[in-house]
Structures are given as structure tokens and as C-alpha cells.
């Protein structure tokens, strides 16, 4: 099966080759996911789609699942323990690693079991079963001798449950982006308009995600030449100025 992961050729700063190779390198830890620019992969995929000229829904789904998994993995690496209370922060990287480990181990188990399945399937083919029709005398099932064996309520219940629309998926456990880069950019620019300010001031009372996004917005301003900052010592206060 020529999957999208197989066909999608990437040319990134840290990696050139098919997407599926990138995936396996990341999973085998031979490539640091933090160095991979996921947005570039999405752009490459969009180019790939344009070149294909048609949208293969299955391939698109596969790509979305893969890229979502990579994003989740990368965000865990970048923001360890973002959903945890502050006093548990220290545990977060270990927990994230444990969960990732759990998934890798679970997958290893089923990959091994899959190998057994493939071998058992091949071995089973050595035995052939008979598939001849019954002799004519045994072929006809007589309606007369048939007796009631099922409860009609089974049918009513089955059709009734099909009338029900399934409950909407509960996505509450997936953290929604609570803050956007654009919002934080606007805030930083308004603070800058007043002159120098400290980074702590910009993120006062904010959660870790907001802090991270604000830092990202600050980097963006620096890149555009709109702002610069100073920090006298590690973990010391950061002063931002135009």
C-alpha cells in the first residue's frame, strides 16, 4: 500500500527523505523531534496535495493522524506538564516519558503479536477445509419444522437504537488553545508603546501555556526587529524595550 507517509517526500533543515522514514527515526529516537519544524511538513503536504490534484480522503486522514501524533509528542516535549498544578511540575517530564514509554511498549507487544499472526495465517493455509454443497436430500431447510428461536424485540431494539443520534464526542480532556500568539503580540505591542517593561509584568498571573506563548510572541517581535530584551543572569528578570 503506497501510503501518504511513504509518498510524501520531505526536504527539511534536519532531514530529507520520505515522511515515514522521519516517523520511524523519531520513534527510534535517532532524530530529535524538537529540531523538526512540523509546519514545514504540513506545507510539504499541502504542496503534495496540489501536485496530486485530488483529495484522497483516506490518505488525508492518515496524514492528519500522524501529524497530530507528532504535534502532541512535540508539545509534550516542549511544555512538560502543562496541565499539572505547579507543585507537580517536577514530575511532569518523567510522567510524559512514562506515558510515551507505555505506548512504545504496548506497540512493541502488538507488533510482535502481529508477526505471530502473519506466521499462523501462513501455517493455517496448509490445511484446506471442504466447501462442497450438501447432498440434495439435506439441502432444503423446511419452514414447517422451524420453531420460534428469536425474540422480535431484538429487532425493535436494534432499529430503535439506530434512530438515536450518537452523543457528541467529549473533547474536554483535550486542552483547547486558551491563548493565541496574535493576542499576546497585541499585548506586548501595547506594553512596548508605553516604553520599557519587564517580562514578568507581561505574564503576571498567567498560566504556563500563556507564558510560553508570550515568550514565542516576544521572539516574533525580536525577529521583526520591533523589540529587544536584556537579562542580566539566568532566571533573572527580563527587561523588554523597543
Amino acid at each position: 500500500m503506497a501510503t501518504v507517509a511513504h509518498r510524501l517526500e520531505l526536504d527539511l533543515d534536519v532531514f530529507a527523505g520520505p515522511f515515514d522514514l522521519l516517523l520511524s527515526l523519531v520513534l527510534r529516537e535517532e532524530l530529535d523531534l524538537l529540531e523538526v519544524e512540523l509546519a514545514e511538513i504540513v506545507l510539504a503536504y499541502v504542496d503534495h496535495l496540489e501536485a496530486e490534484g485530488e483529495l484522497d480522503l483516506e490518505a488525508a486522514t492518515e496524514f492528519l493522524v500522524l501529524i497530530a501524533a507528532l504535534l502532541e509528542l512535540k508539545s509534550r516535549l516542549m511544555l512538560p506538564g502543562e496541565e499539572l498544578p505547579d507543585d507537580l511540575d517536577a514530575l511532569a517530564p518523567a510522567e510524559a516519558a512514562e506515558e510515551l514509554l507505555e505506548r512504545l511498549l504496548q506497540y512493541a507487544r502488538f507488533r510482535g503479536a502481529g508477526g505471530w499472526m502473519a506466521a499462523a495465517h501462513a501455517a493455517g493455509q496448509a490445511y484446506l477445509h471442504r466447501s462442497a454443497p450438501l447432498p440434495p436430500g439435506l439441502r432444503r431447510v423446511s419452514v414447517e419444522v422451524a420453531e420460534r428461536a428469536y425474540d422480535p424485540d431484538v429487532l425493535g431494539a436494534a432499529v430503535g437504537s439506530l434512530l438515536r443520534t450518537p452523543p457528541p464526542l467529549d473533547l474536554r480532556h483535550i486542552a483547547a488553545p486558551r491563548v493565541s500568539v496574535a493576542e499576546r503580540l497585541a499585548l506586548l505591542r501595547s506594553l512596548l508603546a508605553r516604553g520599557r517593561f519587564s517580562f514578568d509584568e507581561a505574564v503576571e498571573g498567567a498560566d504556563r501555556v500563556t507564558e510560553a506563548v508570550t515568550l514565542f510572541a516576544l521572539l516574533e517581535l525580536y525577529k521583526r526587529g520591533e523589540a529587544a530584551w536584556e537579562q542580566a543572569e539566568p532566571f533573572g528578570p527580563i527587561t523588554v524595550h523597543a
Binding site: G137, A149, P152, V154, L155, S161, L162, P166
Partner: protein, 187 residues
């Protein structure tokens, strides 16, 4: 019993139709004389067994011994009444209430392809084909055996689905409502 006779036995066991000596020789990549010897060997080995070797219609076939006929009828010539799978129950319910109905329509309502469930129900004799839709799709309806196995005098005896339906509506709208729910499910 020779290894060749054992292989002949295996081939005749599997073949749905009588097999000629020539066909056996081809399959076993040996001569017809050797096959004939093996058949003789096999016939001897089957003495007093439940399976007999018969020469019919210019070929050779295995058949069950007539002594087992009564038991075979008890085992096989009766409707299969093992429990319906969830997929089969849903499919049968849709055919039962909406007949005649096509497979694509069943799939739309259920939100998944329903080929194997439909095939299993046909195989069990619970539903059968009943012509084609205007688009050429095979239509299905329930069989008399269906009524018998569910203890129904007629299709009018099917239970009212409103019992299991939180928001009952006019019965005639059942098909439309099922299709709408199916689309939401698939979406």
C-alpha cells in the same frame, strides 16, 4: 495406505465434484496407472468407515455413508439459530421494517458497509433478494422462515420501534428518520 493414496483421499475430500483419474494424475504429477492403484488402495482403507469411495459420472468422489443419513438430517437439515451478531440484528431490523430495501440504503442507515451481515442473513435464509431498485441495486426482503423463527404471524406483528425510541414520530417517517440519523452517525 500409500502416501499417494493418502493424497488422493485428500483431493477427493476437498473436491466438490467428481474428479477424473486424469485430473488426479495431473494434480499429483504422476501417471494414471499409479492413480488407479491408489484409488484401489483407498477403497480398501475405507472399508467400515463413515466415508465411501464412489465412481460417478466418469469420475471419483467421496460421499458420506448412507448409515449416517438420519443423523446428518438431524444435524444439518434444520435452520441455523445461533445468536445474531449486532451487525446482523441491525441489518435484519432495517430490512424487516423498511422492506424492500437495498444494501446501500442499509449501509447509509448503519453508517458502515453491511455486506457481510447481509450475506450472512441471506445464507441463514432470513432475507432474500426481491428485484432491483430503480438504480439497479439489489433489494432485500424478509423470508417466510424469518417470520417463523421470530414467531410472527405477519410483518404487521413487528414490535413498534417507538418503544425503544426516545422521540417517537409518525411511523411513516421511519425511513427518513433512520436515514437522517445514519448521516449524522457517518458524519
Amino acid at each position: 495406505m500409500t502416501a499417494l493414496a493418502a493424497q488422493v483421499e485428500a483431493l477427493l475430500f476437498l473436491a466438490p465434484e467428481p474428479v477424473t483419474v486424469e485430473e488426479l494424475a495431473d494434480a499429483l504429477q504422476t501417471g494414471e496407472e499409479a492413480v488407479r492403484d491408489a484409488l484401489e488402495d483407498l477403497a480398501g482403507a475405507l472399508e467400515g468407515r463413515g466415508v465411501v469411495l464412489r465412481e460417478v459420472a466418469g469420475g471419483w468422489a467421496l460421499a458420506s455413508h448412507p448409515d449416517a443419513e438420519e443423523a446428518a438430517r438431524r444435524l444439518l437439515a434444520r435452520p441455523r439459530t445461533s445468536a445474531l451478531t449486532a451487525a446482523q440484528a441491525e441489518t435484519l431490523a432495517i430490512v424487516g421494517y423498511l422492506q424492500p430495501v437495498s444494501r446501500p440504503e442499509v449501509a447509509r442507515i448503519r453508517g458502515v458497509a453491511s455486506e457481510s451481515a447481509t450475506a450472512a442473513l441471506v445464507e441463514r435464509g432470513l432475507i432474500e433478494e426481491s428485484g432491483r431498485s430503480q438504480f439497479g441495486a439489489v433489494l432485500y426482503r424478509t423470508t417466510p422462515l424469518f417470520l417463523k423463527l421470530f414467531g410472527l404471524r405477519s410483518l404487521d406483528d413487528l414490535p413498534d420501534p417507538a418503544q425503544w425510541d426516545p422521540s417517537p414520530e409518525d411511523e411513516s417517517a421511519l425511513r427518513d428518520r433512520l436515514l437522517r440519523a445514519g448521516e449524522q452517525r457517518a458524519g
